[in-house]
């Protein structure tokens, strides 16, 4: 597989990630998604190629994943983020059996066996188990999203947030603040609430160790701690939690090419062109 390069493009609802790999990661780019997926995919891919110092037609195979995967015209294959996260973690942390991915607008649990996903659960309907929950709460509290995790660790007397609805929780949080509860205590309560929602969803898979946390949520130390408290044991974190899906996508691309070579099959490849996609195609 020398001289072969594989690209993984993960268009999440909040962040878009691109990874270019050969044996190891050559380049990675993370950018905010915004509404124009196609334009963004092109731009981010361009940037990644620049960093890898590669021309686009040197890329052997491109796999797109994530919420916006159908909006990547130059992708050779679209694969769900479930399979991609599983493949990514199987590569980065082979001892992991359960992956918990906490994204901006959805969260998922994935069960692995022998490096493959065998079961999964998803929540993409209700904001309460996702990054959005914290975003809304942060806004209500006048705290930056980045600060939330750190602040939660300063809690001395965690407040219980009973509302599972993001909107109600935001109201509840403001009410508690006005009653005199400490900010850190409230924030810890919010993290506890999300951890509870996420744990409740993932336990449907019958959680097995080791457990890995991925996605934006995994970068929130407060949430990591709250989840570990629920799990009852420490969780593993990949070096860059946001890239797991893109890495997995690139690796699946490599798997596909390898299998095709072994079988002597020809693969369908999309034109290696980063043209501006028109709005209506």
């Amino acid at each position: 597989m020398k001289g072969q390069y594989f690209a993984g493009v993960d268009i999440g609802s909040t962040m878009t990630k691109v990874v270019i790999m050969d044996e190891a990661t050559l380049a990675s780019v993370i950018g905010p998604t915004g509404p124009e997926h196609r334009k963004l995919a092109n731009r981010v891919m361009e940037e990644a190629l620049g960093r890898a110092k590669l021309a686009f037609d040197e890329i052997t195979y491109v796999v797109a994943t994530g919420y916006g995967r159908i909006n990547v015209p130059f992708a050779d294959r679209q694969i769900t983020e479930i399979s991609c996260h599983a493949r990514g973690i199987a590569h980065l942390l082979p001892e992991v059996r359960t992956v918990i991915d906490i994204g901006g607008q959805d969260s998922k649990g994935i069960k692995l066996r022998d490096g493959r996903a065998v079961d999964f659960v998803m929540n993409d309907k209700c904001a309460a188990g996702t990054g959005r929950f914290l975003e809304v709460a942060a806004e209500s509290l006048g705290v930056s999203l980045e600060e939330m995790g750190r602040l939660s660790l300063e809690a001395e007397n965690r407040v219980e947030i009973s509302s599972t609805c993001t909107v109600f929780a935001a109201q509840e949080v403001v009410a508690k603040l006005s009653e005199g509860a400490a900010l850190a205590d409230i924030i810890a309560g919010l993290h506890e609430a999300i951890a509870t929602r996420i744990y409740g969803m993932v336990r449907r898979l019958k959680i097995e160790r080791e457990v890995a946390l991925t996605g934006g949520g995994a970068k929130n130390i407060g949430l990591v701690k709250a989840l570990e408290a629920r799990l009852g044991f420490p969780a593993l974190l990949p070096p860059e939690p946001l890239l797991t899906g893109a890495i997995g996508a690139a690796l699946l691309g490599r798997d596909i090419v390898k299998e095709a070579e072994e079988k002597g099959e020809k693969l369908k490849i999309s034109p290696r062109r980063l043209t501006e996609a028109t709005l209506f195609t």
Binding site: E81, S83, M122
Partner: protein, 385 residues
């Protein structure tokens, strides 16, 4: 009487898309149309009365608006949708409504249906949940009351002969559907899951003999087909009622075939016949109470717990083998009691029967169905060999 549209899948499509068009024609010709919910309505008796049974259907593309003024939102979304489109005049040709005691969502909204639609005829069949002898006897009495009631409505008693003829027609109809299902066993199947559902939904909007002819014409048409492209997986869908093809399209657009089901309208409804009995009501009662396997019926446990699961879900295990099913999708609406409570037992049984399970909860609306795309695709990726 107006002529039926030429048969085949084109006709099925027309009757599906313009749902109720045939009933409207028949009504103009003087027929009386009785709307009903759920496969537990004894349509043999309605047909024997000389009336045309019409299965009320919802619409996943129609946001529920009017229904909310009278019906709670915690009711099964399919029932709400059915009520909503009824209020919006989609079934203005109905002369009556018959509702069986299937589940709370259906039975507890009977008054709302009855008084709001205000049709000339309405009847609630308080079908028992148990299957023991006392329940069967009770159910026969209920059917007797229903028979008398329909007779009063039409002005003509329903004779045993009428019932026997109707039973014969429905048994023929069900046999025809079973013949259709055989075409799904091929690899790849000769007919898609979406096509089957479309056809069966169209069928339950037609008088039974016409439905049988329609299905027969589709069988003939489909047998002529060239082989379809091979796809990744053979999927079985298990759930309560699916009267819209949107979900099946979603699975089949993702690269799989839906080759089998345990649904209404579907195998659940068409794979059990009415036994021909001296008193025709006996055979009818036996079929609906004991032969249809649905979460709303409480089957008593005899033997071990594994035997019990086999009794309740064994038909799914058999289909998995017969139709060479690679994966099972449990497609269950939010607020569904009969199936919601069964999920852990069903999942456990199906997995031990050797098929992976994807459990999906849905709200019967295009906006929620689309969200299931990723899950279905992920499931297909998972089970791919």
């Amino acid at each position: 009487m107006p002529e039926e549209v030429a048969g085949g899948l084109a006709a099925a499509d027309k009757y599906y898309r313009d749902y109720g068009s045939r009933a409207r024609e028949l009504k103009k010709g003087g027929a009386k149309i009785i709307g009903y919910l759920c496969a537990f309505t004894p349509v043999e008796i309605i047909t024997a009365a000389g009336l045309v049974p019409f299965r009320i259907k919802g619409d996943v593309n129609e946001p529920i608006t009017k229904a909310d003024t009278e019906m709670e939102t915690i009711v099964c979304p399919l029932v709400r949708s059915c009520f909503d489109v009824s209020l919006k005049g989609k079934y203005e040709f109905l002369d009556g409504i018959v509702i069986p005691h299937a589940c709370d969502s259906i039975s507890r909204t009977y008054d709302v249906w009855k008084y709001t639609l205000n049709l000339p005829y309405s009847h609630f069949i308080d079908m028992p949940h148990g299957t023991g002898e006392p329940s069967l006897d009770f159910y026969k009495s209920l059917l007797g009351t229903f028979r008398t009631s329909l007779g009063k409505f039409t002005g003509r008693e329903i004779s045993d002969q009428d019932l026997k003829e109707a039973v014969g027609l429905y048994n023929q109809n069900r046999a025809k559907v079973r013949e259709l299902y055989q075409l799904r066993k091929a690899s790849p199947p000769l007919i898609s899951g979406a096509e089957v559902t479309k056809l069966l939904v169209a069928a339950v909007s037609l008088p039974v003999a016409e439905a049988t002819r329609l299905i027969d014409s589709v069988i003939k048409e489909v047998k002529q087909r060239q082989a379809a492209p091979a796809k990744t997986a053979r999927i079985m869908v298990v759930g309560a009622e699916v009267d819209d093809i949107a979900f099946l399209d979603l699975i089949e657009d993702s690269g799989a075939w839906v080759v089998a089901d345990d649904l209404c309208p579907g195998a659940r409804e068409f794979f059990a016949d009415v036994a021909v009995t001296a008193n025709p009501v006996d055979g009818i009662a036996e079929r609906y109470l004991r032969k249809i396997k649905c979460g709303r019926t409480f089957r008593e446990k005899e033997g071990s717990y594994d035997d019990y699961l086999e009794d309740r879900f064994g038909h799914i295990g058999r289909f998995i083998k017969e139709f060479k099913v690679d994966g099972v999708v449990l497609y269950i609406y939010k607020y569904c009691d009969p199936y919601g409570f069964d999920v852990p037992a069903m999942k456990s049984y199906i997995e031990s029967a050797g098929a992976p399970v994807l459990y999906l909860e849905d709200e019967y609306s295009m906006s929620t169905i689309g969200r299931l795309r990723t899950r279905i695709q992920a499931f297909l990726e998972l089970i791919a060999k």
